[in-house]
């Protein structure tokens, strides 16, 4: 039984079909990547997986439970999200941002317990942020912010993690650092990724989206073949095996007819 799957999911935005008939399955502990050109529906699909967007057709299933039959709180206890949050304003500190992860567990007047504080401090420390715990989020570097949001996801203690472009705006060191940290959490993860080589190197399974439909899926070397990438992204791709890591990777050039 897949940990999370979408079953013939269709999503409309302003009465335009953005996601049509998409079925993905994510096994427990698996790292799944969603790749595709701009506007192919990666972010929309991701938002459809956590109750941010209600589907017009199909369903999202967590184990045997339909996502939309769960209460929002119950869904939040099962799925943590790191969306693209670059500026949050109001001078929240890293530790305050991380503490937001306790929200699905707290009633209105309930106070923070020693366990809550321990969990927040531990999660920040696990992400290498102890020294920045009381720094304003908006004053942090992109990599530090992304790690703060991962700490928040840890605090949320959900078995499923959804990531929207987690490596966006990061230098190569932090791109690899963030993906390494995500993998080390061993959570069931679905990530929308722009960078095909990062996806190929870090994902167990990749779904390729084009115009709101899944056109290929499977392990990186099967999903990201040179022919398919050349066609989907209208470029000339060359596949090779990384000489050190042994991972499937790609090189790119402009396609002949557009030169």
């Amino acid at each position: 039984m897949a940990m999370m799957r979408s079953d013939h999911l269709s999503i409309d935005l302003s009465e335009t079909r953005i996601i049509s008939d998409v079925s993905v399955a994510v096994e427990a502990g698996e790292f799944v990547g969603l790749v595709g050109p701009n506007g192919s529906g990666k972010t929309t699909l991701l938002r459809g997986l956590y109750r941010a967007l209600k589907p017009v057709g199909g369903a999202v299933l967590l184990g045997q439970d339909n996502l939309w039959n769960l209460s929002p709180i119950e869904a939040a206890r099962r799925i943590a999200v790191v969306a693209q949050e670059n500026q949050i304003g109001f001078d929240f500190t890293a530790s305050e941002v991380a503490a937001l992860g306790r929200l699905p567990y707290k009633k209105g007047f309930e106070r923070d317990t020693a366990e809550d504080r321990q969990l927040v401090a531990q999660s920040l420390n696990d992400m290498g942020l102890a020294s920045l715990a009381y720094r304003p989020f908006d004053a942090m570097s992109g990599g530090e912010r992304q790690r703060t949001l991962l700490a928040r996801a840890l605090v949320q203690q959900a078995p499923i993690l959804l990531l929207d472009e987690p490596t966006n705006h990061l230098d190569i060191h932090y791109q690899l650092d963030v993906l390494h940290r995500v993998r080390a959490l061993k959570l069931t993860t679905v990530a929308a990724l722009h960078d095909l080589n990062l996806a190929a190197a870090w994902c167990d399974c990749i779904y390729v989206l084009q115009a709101g439909r899944i056109i290929a899926s499977g392990p990186p070397h099967e999903a990201l073949t040179a022919e398919r990438i050349s066609q989907v992204f209208r470029i000339q791709a060359t596949a090779f095996t990384h000489p050190v890591t042994g991972k499937h990777q790609l090189l790119f050039d402009r396609a002949e007819e557009t030169k």
Binding site: I73, I79, D91, F92, A99, L103, P104, K106
Partner: protein
């Protein structure tokens, strides 16, 4: 501030720094509470007749404990208990209420320039009150008071804003704000029109109060209702303090924590706007506090609403009571409406605070 704290490097040190921070926060609450008591004492002591602090509190105590002893000076007793005490309490309640509602509204709409009047409730109140004054003769004088007119105006505005902002069964906060701002301008125009059309100087004087707001004529009879509705606002804000953190961070994040942002915002807007409707029908549209005190509170204790709300509550109370002292003293024995002074006195301080903090941030970053 960050400069005097040790930089933590382990989980235990992060926790220790948190404990240190909480201790400082509790101390600042105690300090602010002491300031509020001081401001209230000064507020009751100063006036046409100066009364020593000790005598002020002995008179207050005599009334609170309902002692049967006769007052030592009946005149001063009336001045303190019937005139100044209700005025100070009214000021503290209004200031506190505007400040916490300002905190909540800024978080709800994620806009630091928002204030409690963002839905146009105060323009509706002013229009209602001024209409009663303007058409007073036609309606038969004294049948309904401008205060009732203000309340009716505020509520009608609120209903109108929500009705117009509703589309397909959903109230989006952006539409709510746009409709609120637009209606607010329209209502202000109507109010100004009536102000120009009036030639009776007494009516113009009365209209002025509904454009600026003031604490003059405070009575104990006004307090219970106001205290009641403000208590509702305070409890609602406190209950939703954590969700307010999430709304301030963004709707996308809020949804991922299991909140329904639009529904939550609508619910809070209805509760808080009703409270504002009551407040403006008693003291008029006192400005500045609901906009700026939230920022001062955040500068002091950060963004977390469980700390910002209590600090803003105390700061708002202190500030309005203190400014009211100045408004009574500056042209004594006559007074100017406190709404005139809130911004004049507060703006220089606020700008100094922002500049000082930015200077510190630059220094910390080096």
């Amino acid at each position: 501030m960050s400069s005097d704290a040790i930089i933590p490097s382990t989980t235990a040190e992060v926790l220790a720094a948190g404990t240190h921070q909480r201790r400082r926060y509790v101390l600042s609450l105690v300090g602010l509470f002491a300031l509020l008591i001081l401001a209230a004492t000064v507020g009751m002591s100063i006036g046409a007749v100066s009364v020593p602090f000790g005598q002020v509190w002995s008179i207050i105590w005599r009334h609170i404990s309902q002692a049967s002893t006769a007052p030592t000076d009946a005149g001063i007793d009336i001045i303190i208990w019937q005139i100044r005490a209700p005025r100070v309490v009214l000021g503290a309640l209004i200031g506190a209420g505007l400040a916490i509602i300002g905190v909540a509204v800024q978080a709800m709409v994620r806009n630091p320039l928002a204030d409690p009047y963002v839905l146009g409730v105060e323009s509706g109140a002013a229009a209602g009150a001024v209409a009663v004054i303007f058409f007073g003769g036609a309606l038969g004088k004294g049948i309904i008071s401008p205060a009732i007119g203000a309340f009716v105006g505020a509520i009608l505005t609120l209903i109108l804003v929500f009705t117009l902002a509703r589309q397909g069964g959903r109230v989006s906060s952006l539409r709510l704000l746009l409709v609120g701002v637009a209606l607010s301008f329209a209502l202000s125009g109507i109010t100004t029109f009536m102000q120009y059309a009036t030639h009776d100087p007494a009516a113009q004087q009365a209209i002025l109060f509904w454009l600026i707001g003031g604490l003059g004529g405070a009575q104990w009879a006004q307090i219970p209702l106001l205290a009641g509705v403000l208590a509702i606002a305070a409890v609602a804000c406190w209950y939703y303090a954590r969700p307010l953190n999430a709304l301030a961070v963004g709707d996308e994040a809020a949804m991922s924590f299991g909140l329904k942002p639009d529904q939550l915002r609508t619910r809070l807007f209805v509760i808080l706007s009703l409270v504002i409707a009551v407040a403006v029908s008693i003291v008029g549209p006192i400005g500045f506090i609901g906009l700026v005190v939230p920022h001062v509170a955040r500068l002091l204790v950060g963004a977390e609403h469980r700390r910002v709300l209590p600090v803003a509550l105390l700061l708002g109370g202190i500030y309005l009571v203190a400014v009211d002292v100045v408004s009574r003293w500056i042209f004594a024995p006559s007074e100017i409406p406190v709404g005139v002074l809130t911004a004049i006195l507060g703006t220089p301080f606020f700008i100094w605070l922002i500049r000082r903090r930015e200077a510190m941030a630059i220094r910390d970053a080096r």
